[in-house]
């Protein structure tokens, strides 16, 4: 059953609770339970971090390549170009996230106003 499956007011909230709250806080409670038993350097955690990182990266790429709404009308080259410019600014500024965001947004906005 998807998010739009039921036309009732409570279904979206139940969906958010089960797919959102339960799926995140379970890990937090497990973390408290495990306390200091697990080493942060253990190899299984490297594997877990790799999967989690790749998953979020996939979401980012899809948001840039296949956006919905207001961004959908802009050109793919502009979005990818703005993202690359922002990431380059982030690396060049010694990992200042704000610098990366500012450059990416500037490139995107200039492109949107010039190209339309």
């Amino acid at each position: 059953m998807s998010f739009d499956a039921l036309d009732t007011w409570w279904w979206p909230y139940l969906f958010i609770l089960l797919a959102g709250w339960l799926a995140t806080d379970t890990w937090r409670y497990l973390g408290v339970y495990l306390g200091g038993k697990m080493s942060d350097e253990s190899d299984i955690l490297v594997f877990v971090r790799c999967i989690a990182t790749a998953l979020v990266a996939a979401v980012i790429a899809n948001l840039i390549v296949f956006p919905s709404g207001a961004l959908a009308d802009s050109s793919l080259a502009l979005r990818v170009g703005a993202a690359i410019a922002g990431f380059a600014a982030y690396l060049l500024s010694r990992k200042q996230i704000l610098a990366g965001i500012a450059v990416a947004e500037a490139v995107l906005l200039i492109g949107l106003y010039l190209i339309g």
Partner: protein
Amino acid sequence: MNENTTAESGSEESHISWYLRGVRRCFSVPGLVLVSAFVGFAGLAREAGLTLPQTVFMTGVVWALPAQVVLIGAMIAGNSLIAAAFAVALSSVRLAPMVVALTPEMRGPRTRKWVLYALSHFVAITSWVLAMESFRNVPRDLRTAYYTGIGTTLVLVNMGVVATVFLLAESLPVQVTAALFFLTPIYFLTSLWGSARERAGHVAMVLGLLSGPVFHLLLPGFDLLAAGCIAGGAAYVWHRTRLKRGTGK
């Protein structure tokens, strides 16, 4: 930050004063970056068709931006509840080791278990970084009060930010809405790179970026799970081979 940590622990007054120091700790560059990320998230949720109460609710109960972005992504793609929960759970595994690392630092000799469970809900990248940086300057039995200040402030401020952006977004020109929407991917593009603990994290990120759109076309509905498992698995295999070669084991 503050060298003067001789506050009388245990008294009501020092609990409040350390709670307030936690509150103040949020008004900093990491806090500002998080607000900009939630501005972007509000734009994303609005474009996805969520209502204002649903978005504020999600922010409060989930309180993990990657998980929220994955959840919205699954909603847009029309994923089932099970598939959405699975993708969100996979994207949030990292919360467990983060809490594992934080809990021993936060626990005092008289800290009750339920307090730790309740406070763990506030653990997300920003609050975790702020706490890990500052805890050594906080008396041990006041760290829960301090972290409560950080956690409640970040959650409440950003719930307010989300609601405000939602209300304003309607009257904004389309270019500005597009720019708001673009904040989320850029925030994660940079913060994900910076938060990687080892080289394999960077490999996983690059492979994930490349495979996301590919699986979106090949396996619609399961694209996130497939990209996460295959790109993440490949990065781990890369990590193992490099380890073997590097240490000669």
